[in-house]
């Protein structure tokens, strides 16, 4: 059975040549499916929402295309929601889903964007970060995409967001139960670089055969004296599946453990979704004599003086001058607003 059997082939006589009528056979699993799509939520969801049609519609008059709420048509969102629900039911298991081509390139967050589009409702407040920052170019582009296609409120403040899409970081502020963290994932398979074949890795997961991974970590220690994985550090979820936390630095791994927030992972090019439900055990792999350790920084943030946060190294000149600043820009700004100062904050604004 496929996810879309009932909805995929609406009767031909009802079909528009280049448009789409409303979803056939029910309006999807989420609260935001269907009706409100014709509203003035989005500048692109225009008056041409003919017969209440979500999905791509070609406006005869202006010849302008309009799109569904959050871009994806309702059947696609329903298909993605089903994959998400399955992922939540089997924490850490990679659920194949019929990933769509998105109007941004594969590898630039299409998985995260599809997951966000599927969970986003009109009342949500969206935050998008890349490398911990709200104003890195790709984060700006993705935030702009949802402003345009969903018309949702956006924020840079972690505390105010209900949905946070991220690439490579988990915010420093502890996430709460009403929040969803959506990760962009390039390679969802933690065993991929040990075994390139999907047919094999799926078998290994099925048999819970994770010896390969432990041997890899052991060989790191034998060769370098350290586990040489510093980001995308493998974790075991709820004692069963080994999972790739996406290329977040291992510094962020402990934040995933028993988080109150729902964590969803979308890999568009690789067509996989997986999830960590709230309060789930997420344990970084290690050995008794080589326990897992996160990165530490010698100095605090040069702007806000924060310690115990992840820092970016900024090169100041060509004479070895450098400074370390918070990777989480919202966290840094908030601390500075509270009056915290770092060594170099006098010079900056």
């Amino acid at each position: 059975m496929t996810d879309m059997d009932d909805a995929r082939f609406p009767p031909l006589s009802n079909s528009l040549p280049r448009g789409e009528r409303g979803p056939v056979g029910g309006s999807g699993a989420g609260a935001d499916a269907g009706v409100e799509l014709n509203g003035a939520l989005s500048p692109l969801v225009g008056e041409s929402g003919r017969e209440g049609a979500p999905g791509a519609v070609l406006d005869d008059q202006a010849n302008l295309r309009t799109y569904s709420f959050a871009y994806l048509d309702e059947q696609t969102k329903r298909m993605i929601r089903r994959a998400i629900l399955k992922g939540i039911a089997i924490p850490g298991y990679q659920v194949p889903f019929a990933s769509r081509e998105m109007p941004m390139p594969y590898g630039w967050g299409t998985g995260g964007v599809q997951v966000t589009a599927a969970v986003l409702g009109p009342d949500d407040v969206l935050k998008v970060i890349d490398q911990g920052a709200d104003d890195t170019t790709n984060a700006v582009a993705i935030r702009g995409f949802f402003q345009k296609t969903a018309g949702v409120a956006t924020t840079t403040r972690t505390a105010d967001a209900t949905v946070i899409q991220t690439r490579h970081r988990i915010p420093e502020r502890t996430l709460q139960a009403h929040q969803i963290l959506v990760y962009q994932v390039p390679i969802p398979e933690p065993l991929r670089y040990l075994e390139p074949r999907e047919t094999e890795t799926r078998k290994l997961h099925g048999l819970e055969e994770y010896g390969l991974m432990h041997v890899k970590l052991y060989e790191d220690i034998a060769r370098h004296g350290h586990i040489a994985t510093t980001y995308a550090y493998p974790v075991k979820v709820e004692g069963r599946y080994i999972m790739d936390p996406s290329p977040t630095p291992k510094f962020d791994n402990p934040k995933m453990h028993r988080s109150k927030a729902l964590q969803l992972f979308g890999a568009g090019r690789e067509k996989r979704i997986y999830a960590v439900p709230p309060h789930t055990d997420v344990v970084s792999l290690d050995f008794e004599d080589h326990p897992f350790r996160i990165q530490t920084f010698k100095e605090p943030c040069a702007l806000c003086g924060a310690e115990g946060v992840y820092l970016d190294e900024v090169i100041l000149d060509d004479r070895g001058g450098r400074m370390f600043v918070c990777s989480d820009t919202d966290h840094c700004e908030e601390r500075r607003a509270e009056g915290h100062r770092g060594a170099l904050s006098g010079e900056s604004r």
Binding site: A98, T137, G144, P186, E198, T329
Partner: protein, 360 residues
């Protein structure tokens, strides 16, 4: 002084404005019209339609224009549009034997029913730059002759009469796979493999097909036939109880006749590799048929040793929209991960330095 990396939004807007400016080029030169692209850059348009998996010349021409002639970017534009369209059904198999043929050649028979028909081809042209084309020279009208009423049966059907080639697989009621609606999983059936190849990157398939000719999975291919022309697309309409033609498309078909197979029970027969592509794209259709045949190695009991025979390798890497996205994503900031690597490498170097110091 450190200025936080701010202003991404303005930077993006400005970059896009500059892009639009550069796309237009010198504004004293008239802008290209879509008709010019669709009529004079037809093969670029064909490629964009084929790999964009959407048969619409006007939109493909628009994509070529918008992408400044970057065909992979144009393919991406078309795909991103296609994905928003509903899929309301699938067509009956197109009957290429009933094609309105513009070109048809066979390398296996000197003459055959329907004859050889060269049609519009670069083959046998001397590749000399033509200075006259810098202008718009008058062209003689193409030669014409009355339409030949002879049928043009497919070469593979002729071979099949004698049982010399494996028959086409029987038509089944099994649903046709669609990798744009279901995630591809391995092993994939031939319908999905052919779909992936038809959308696949021409350059990638060309290289793989070439590799089989050079011994990496050799299949002893002959071009049974290449034909180019228009076919009708029909769909079944459940309400009517019969099929209806919904349009006509140009396709290029290549049937490769390849290494024979036999066994104790079955007498030897040639095998096939199949290629079918939107528009006029012989190179792609031929490469596709070579790779299709190579991918059948497993089904035909051959050892799978070469890259072109490796289904997971070929299908996972044939899509140029996926490839270009992931390769180009390396442009995105990775400084968080790089910082993690810096931290580790410094730590390891410090440890070694300390050890050496202690030893001295």
């Amino acid at each position: 002084m450190y200025v936080a990396v701010k202003g991404g939004e303005q930077a993006i807007a400005a970059a896009h404005r500059l892009l639009a400016h550069e796309r237009r080029g010198d504004r004293s030169v008239p802008a290209l019209t879509l008709a010019q692209i669709a009529e004079q850059l037809t093969l670029a348009v064909d490629r964009v339609m084929a790999e964009g998996s959407l048969y619409d010349r006007d939109l493909a021409a628009l994509a070529v224009k918008q992408a400044r002639g970057d065909l992979i970017e144009a393919i991406f534009l078309l795909r991103a549009y296609r994905t928003t369209l509903p899929r309301f059904g699938f067509s009956r198999p197109v009957d290429t034997a009933a094609m309105l043929v513009r070109r048809r050649i066979s390398a296996t028979f000197k003459d055959l029913p329907g004859g050889q028909c060269l049609g519009p081809t670069f083959d046998y042209t001397h590749r000399l730059l033509d200075p006259l084309l810098a202008g718009d020279p008058d062209l003689p009208d193409p030669a014409e002759r009355p339409a030949d009423e002879t049928a043009m049966p497919r070469v593979t059907d002729l071979l099949n009469d004698e049982g010399l080639i494996e028959p086409d697989p029987a038509e089944t009621d099994a649903p046709v796979g669609d990798l744009t609606r279901e995630p591809l999983s391995f092993p994939a059936d031939r319908d999905l493999r052919l779909q992936a190849l038809a959308r696949g990157d021409e350059g990638f398939l060309l290289a793989l097909g070439y590799s089989t000719q050079r011994g990496y999975g050799r299949t002893h291919p002959f071009v049974g036939e290449i034909r180019l022309g228009d076919v009708e697309v029909e769909i079944d309409v459940p309400e009517l109880g019969f099929s209806v033609a919904i349009g006509r498309i140009t396709v290029t078909e290549c049937q490769m006749v390849t290494q024979f197979k036999g066994s104790a029970k079955a007498p030897p027969a040639f095998t096939r590799g199949y290629g079918l592509v939107f528009g006029h794209q012989e190179r792609k259709a031929m490469a596709m048929s070579l790779v299709d045949r190579a991918l059948r190695a497993g089904d035909l009991g051959e050892d799978r040793v070469a890259p072109a025979q490796d289904e997971e390798f070929v299908l996972s890497h044939s899509d140029n929209v996926q490839s270009t996205g992931f390769v180009e994503h390396l442009k995105l900031p990775h400084y968080v991960d790089f910082q993690a690597e810096l931290d580790l490498i410094r730590r390891m170097r410090a440890e070694i330095a300390a050890r050496q110091e202690a030893a001295e």
